[in-house]
């Protein structure tokens, strides 16, 4: 099989999800810019119908809002299809993919902890990486995070 993206899959996606904006970044990497409400359905369609593999998700705090990218790979052709979505900072929530995709469990917990994104429907949204006494409302990878950890007290001291 050719080592590049397939037009058929793109056409099916465009028919089913007309809001999705496709950007061909490279022959083996595509960005599917998707509105927040459509991410769950698109990911479920790609994972269940088209047998994509969920690689990882990443989150970044940009100037426009918090951008989450779900990296899906299509192993037959070795191509990446990245679902990009932008979440406004004042309403920071998105539907969790964990309900049909258990592999997203921990990375969503991590994004919840470090970026403050609320994943609706996540079964176990508790901190993953930070220390136990880290305050829940402090998100260190946010742009407006201003070294608040320097004021925090340590749990145990000699």
């Amino acid at each position: 099989m050719k080592k590049e993206y397939s037009e058929e899959i793109l056409q099916e996606i465009a028919e089913k999800f007309p809001e999705v904006e496709v950007k061909i970044h490279a022959p083996r990497r595509l960005y599917l810019r998707t509105p927040r409400e459509e991410v769950y359905n698109l990911a479920e369609y790609m994972f269940k119908q088209k047998s994509f593999r969920f690689s990882i998700a990443t989150g970044i705090d940009t100037r426009e809002g918090i951008e989450i990218i779900y990296h899906f790979t299509y192993d037959e052709s070795g191509t990446y299809y990245n679902i990009k979505t932008l979440i406004p900072k004042d309403d920071c929530q998105i539907k969790s993919l964990t309900t049909f995709l258990p592999a997203a469990n921990w990375i969503e917990r991590e994004m919840h902890e470090l970026l403050g994104v609320d994943f609706i429907g996540h079964p176990n949204l508790i901190p993953l990486l930070m220390a136990d006494d880290w305050p829940a409302d402090l998100h260190p990878l946010r742009r407006d995070y201003a070294n608040e950890h320097e004021k925090l007290k340590l749990k145990k001291k000699m």
Binding site: M130, A131, W134, P140, Y145, N147, H149, L154, K155, K156, K157, M158
Partner: protein, 139 residues
């Protein structure tokens, strides 16, 4: 009695390796010390599996919010007098991790450190020299 303890420590220091969230390069260099090329066991330096058996702690890695209580626990379990040796630049000054939100400063804020060995990672020779200097300081 203190002198007898010190004599025992200097004669054959038993070392416990505390890997406090290091990137493993310093740990690999410490393992190198045990290989036939450097073979520190001929000087009586033995790596032990428990801090309760140890005369010296070899600490690697940058001290962070999660490893701090564990490091202090290990230090409290070590019989005194004991040597604390910080291996690698991370132990000295937090190295490249200094601006991180999770880092809580160098080790001597919390436990007394006898010798710091800089380097990223330090050469096995540097670690040997550091341990020898720490032992010489004891008199």
């Amino acid at each position: 009695m203190a002198n007898a303890k010190l004599w025992g420590l200097k004669k054959s220091p038993w070392v416990f390796h505390v890997a406090a969230a290091s990137c493993n390069n310093c740990d690999i260099e410490i393992l190198d010390l045990l290989t036939p090329r450097w073979d520190v066991e001929r000087f009586g330096i033995v790596l032990v599996g428990s801090p309760r058996h140890a005369d010296a702690l070899l600490i690697t890695g940058v001290l962070n919010r999660k490893s701090l209580p564990r490091v202090i626990d290990v230090y409290e379990q070590t019989p005194k007098p004991c040597l604390v040796i910080g291996v690698g630049s991370c132990t000295c000054d937090n190295h490249i991790f200094a601006p991180s939100y999770n880092v809580v400063g160098p080790y001597d804020k919390y436990i007394p450190v006898d010798v710091y060995i800089p380097g990223c990672p330090p050469k096995p020779e540097a670690i040997i020299i550091g341990v020898v200097k720490a032992l010489k300081r004891l008199g």
